[in-house]
Structure formats: C-alpha cells, structure tokens
C-alpha cells in the first residue's frame, strides 16, 4: 500500500523527468558525470540520497526492489531504504538477487551474477576520481574532456612506493569504455572485475555532489594498473565460516576478546542460499567456534 500524501516513489513527476534525462545522457556517454538538480531527501547526505533519487526515478509499479548495504540486506541503511520505497511506491521488495529488477547498493556488487534486464543502482559519496589529485572542479572537467588521466597513476605509484603493492582496496579507479575515468563508488576492488561487460545496467547517483553517471550493459570497464604491477583482487586464506564459499568477498567478524574471529560472506543473500542448499562452513559444522 502506498502512503497517502506522497507522489508515487516520493519525488514529484517533474523531478523524476529531470533525473531521467540526466540518466539517459549518462547512459549515452558511459562514465561521464552528468550534473543534475539533486533534491533534499528525507535522509541525510551520505546515506544514499543519490541512489534513492535514481531509484525513485526509474522504479515502476511492477518492479521488485532489493537494497543492500555492505552486501547485507538486514542493515539499517538497507532496511530503511527498502521500507521507504515499500511505503512511498508500494512496490514488491525482495532479498533474492535474481528476483530483483532493481538492486540499490552501497559498497558491494552482489555475488550472484546480475542478468540482462536488471539495474544496479550505486550510492556514490564522491563521484570525481580526480578529486584526490586536483581540487578545482573546472580543472577536473577539463582533464576529463582532454583525457588527461596519466596523473591518476601517481596515486597508484605512491601505493607501491609505500606498501610494495597497490594498496587501494576500495573505490578503485576504472576506465569506462576506454574513455572516461570513473569511481566505482566505495565497492571493494574484489568487485571491479564484475563491472566489466556486466549484462545489467549500472547507474551511479551522488546526491550531495549532484552527479549521475552510468555504465551501460556489456560495456568494457578496466581497472587502472602498471605493467609490472597488474590489477589484483583481494584473496582470503579461509572460506566462509557459515557456507564454506571460497569465491565470495569475506567480512572479518571479531567474536570475542581473546582473538577469536570469523570470516563470513558479506553478501547475506548469497550465503543464505548456499546454506539452504546444504553447504556448510567451519562454524556451522562446529558450533563451538561460535556464530550461526
């Protein structure tokens, strides 16, 4: 049921139209940051105002929405955004990645591969990948226009010089379609390879910074690296303690004050489905280790 007194999906139709125009332009120029008139939303900047506005503009009555925060469906941010759309749009919500038509995400791409027809909406805090190098907006726009991206490697160089390897582990800069440099929002670099030629549409909304950008389906997305220090993703020595998955992004959970810790899937939907299918991990086989 939709809450009385609100337009469908909270935003008024003119605003949605304006945001859709920005999205269309963003899709037409993969990776280019399109300015848009970001609105005040009933949650603070930094909690996903950009993602919510994008979702509100593309959602229809037949859509099924999934919202994740750090991979989990049950954290405060995910629950409140899901509830927000259940109240203002009356749409169906789900925790199952494959059932969702729109997945709004903060900090992760689901482990279950996304399919054509699905839309992944990212919440973006800082959309400008060059901001770290160049504080002037006029200058960064010029750098994008002229494809002056070489200096971006200074950051990676500095990582190797300090730590011996590229230590940037999230929000790892990518080149979209061989042209625009983009920030994939603070997803772990583990997820970067999933963005490459993804059959689903990827939309990025930055509410405070008032920018929307997009990666259309099947678009090449390449992570920056050096010839002698190629791009690598994180690996773990252990498998998920709950479901035994060795191929998913693991969160470290401290279980006591004696050094006890567990590594579990950050994607709760993926982990739950594996456990329902009978997979077990070290903690579910041996309850003494805590967890579950």
């Amino acid at each position: 049921m939709t809450e009385d007194g609100y337009n469908f999906a909270y935003l008024d139709e003119q605003t949605k139209r304006m945001i859709r125009r920005a999205i269309l332009k963003a899709v037409a120029i993969p990776g280019y940051q399109v300015p848009f008139g970001s609105r005040e939303m009933p949650l603070p900047y930094g909690w996903g105002t950009g993602g919510i506005q994008v979702t509100a503009s593309i959602i229809g009555r037949d859509d099924t929405l999934k919202v994740i925060d750090q991979g989990a469906d049950d954290t405060v941010n995910a629950v409140s955004i899901r509830k927000f759309f259940a109240r203002t749009a009356g749409v169906a919500t789900t925790e199952r990645t494959e059932d969702a038509t729109i997945v709004q995400t903060r900090h992760r791409i689901p482990e279950t591969p996304l399919a054509a027809g699905q839309i992944l909406v990212y919440q973006v805090p800082i959309p400008e990948p060059l901001r770290w190098l160049e504080p002037r907006e006029a200058e960064t726009r010029k750098m994008h226009a002229l494809e002056e991206y070489g200096a971006m490697h200074v950051r990676l160089y500095e990582d190797i010089a300090r730590f011996g390897h590229i230590a940037t582990s999230y929000d790892y800069p990518v080149r979209v379609n061989g042209r625009y440099l983009a920030r994939p929002s603070p997803i772990p670099k583990f997820d970067n390879p999933k963005m490459d030629r993804l059959p689903a549409l990827q939309l990025f909304g930055a509410g405070r910074e008032k920018r929307i950008y997009a990666i259309p389906p099947h678009t090449e997305v390449r992570s920056l690296d050096f010839d002698d220090h190629p791009f690598e993703v994180q690996t773990w020595d252990e498998a998920c303690a709950f479901c035994g998955a060795a191929d998913s992004f693991l969160d470290e959970i401290v279980t006591d004050d004696r050094g006890g810790r567990l590594f579990v899937c950050s994607d709760t939907d993926y982990c739950g489905k594996r456990r329902a299918a009978g997979h077990t991990g070290s903690a579910t086989r041996d309850p003494e280790r805590g967890g579950a």
């Binding site: 002056e148 070489g150 490697h153 950051r155 300090r162």
Partner: protein, 260 residues
Amino acid sequence: MPPGAPPLLSARGVTKFYDAIPGCRDVSFDIWPGEVLGIVGESGSGKTTMLNCISARLEPTSGTVEYATRHDGPADIYRMSEPVRRLLMRTDWGFVHQNPQEGLRMGVSAGANIGERLMAVGARHYGNIREAAADWLDKVEMDTGRMDDLPFTFSGGMQQRLQIARNLVTAPRIVFMDEPTGGLDVSVQARLLDLLRGLVADLGLAAVIVTHDLAVARLLSHRLLVMRRGKVVESGLTDQVLDDPEHPYSQLLVSSVLHP
C-alpha cells in the same frame, strides 16, 4: 646552433593589461635553442607577468608568442588547440616556481613527484618510472635513499632541486624559471646555480630566468633583458649590459648592488 636557425620561442609585442593597469608592454624578443635569457628588473616591473605570458599561463592582451614545435614548425601558442598546448606545457616545457610548494605535489613522495610527468605522457611501468626518478635525483645531487620521503621533509634547497628534477624528467626544450633561487641562503643558492648551469649546458636547454638578483643573471644567462614599468629598457649580452649599462635605469640597477 647553425647560423640562420629559427628561434625556439619568439615574442612579438607582448602586452598585458590588468584592467587599465599595464603588466607588461610591447615586449619582443627571440630565444634560440640552448640559450639562456635572463630577465632582470625591480619588483613590479612586469617580469613575472611577462614570463607567464610567454609560458602559456596567462593570455596577453595583445601580441603573439610563437613556439617552434617539434613537428609542425612555429605555432602561436595561444592559437593552437588547448590539448596541444597543454601537452606542450607538460612535455616540451618546464616551469620552475619561486616557491617550490607551488610546483610540487606536497602530498606524495619525491619519486612520485618526478614520475608524474612520465605517467602523464603514458609511462605505465613502475620499475622504469622509479629508475628514471632515481636517476634524476642523482642528477640534481640528492640522496636517492630519500626517494620515498614526502617533499615537506626536505629543506627549501632540496625542494627546489626536486622541482627542477620534476620538470626536466621529460627532457623539455625550454624551461621557464621564476626566481629559482629566491628565498634560499647564499651557500645553497651557489650550489643550486652551479647545478643549474651544469644542467642547462649538458642538456642543451633553453631557459628564461626571471630574477632580481644580478649575480644570478650574470652566472646563468647569455643574454639579458632589463625591464622597468612593464617595458624592456635595455637588452644585450649579459656582460655587456652589466658592465657597460647604457640606460639610466640599468646603470642605477647595476650601481645599487653592494660589493662586500
């Protein structure tokens, strides 16, 4: 320089007004490859305005600046397309600021500062970039062991060396320097000047050096322009201008220097 070779850079009637206030007026000169041109004059005489005008950092109100590009011959730097101009500025040209903090990226290590220009023109091999950085630290007489230190841990003289290394790593053909030894004490100044003189001679660099220090001008430059109130009042060979100044202002300038 073969006789009759075209100049590397030629300024014609360069004039810059800040609203009604003249910065520099009707400045014309040529620089040939390998030549060092000194620009001297008192504070406010338009030296820095002129330097900015000829280094594509500040568009003059009128006048032209032509640069002999490697492939397309002489081209007006304010008429060429912006990508071409910006590429020139970070490959063929160098700019050394008086305050090294303006010319350096203070948040990243010395090695990254030197490597930045290489990465900007497409270097993508960490090992090679590092090797070039170490090589240049060595050339500017800095300890290669400090390659991974941040610039703010360096002394003023070392920062200035680092800035010079950072500019020269892409083998530019002309370097613009705005008071490169300003703010350094005399012994550090002497070493830096010695270094600059060596580098300019070894690399066959052309350089434009703005300074108010006549000793710096005498040591480094082949030719000298004396500026006053935005105008060039005298130009000629360095020793000729300094030892036998013609214009009353040049005479005043030379006679104002204290000899201890």
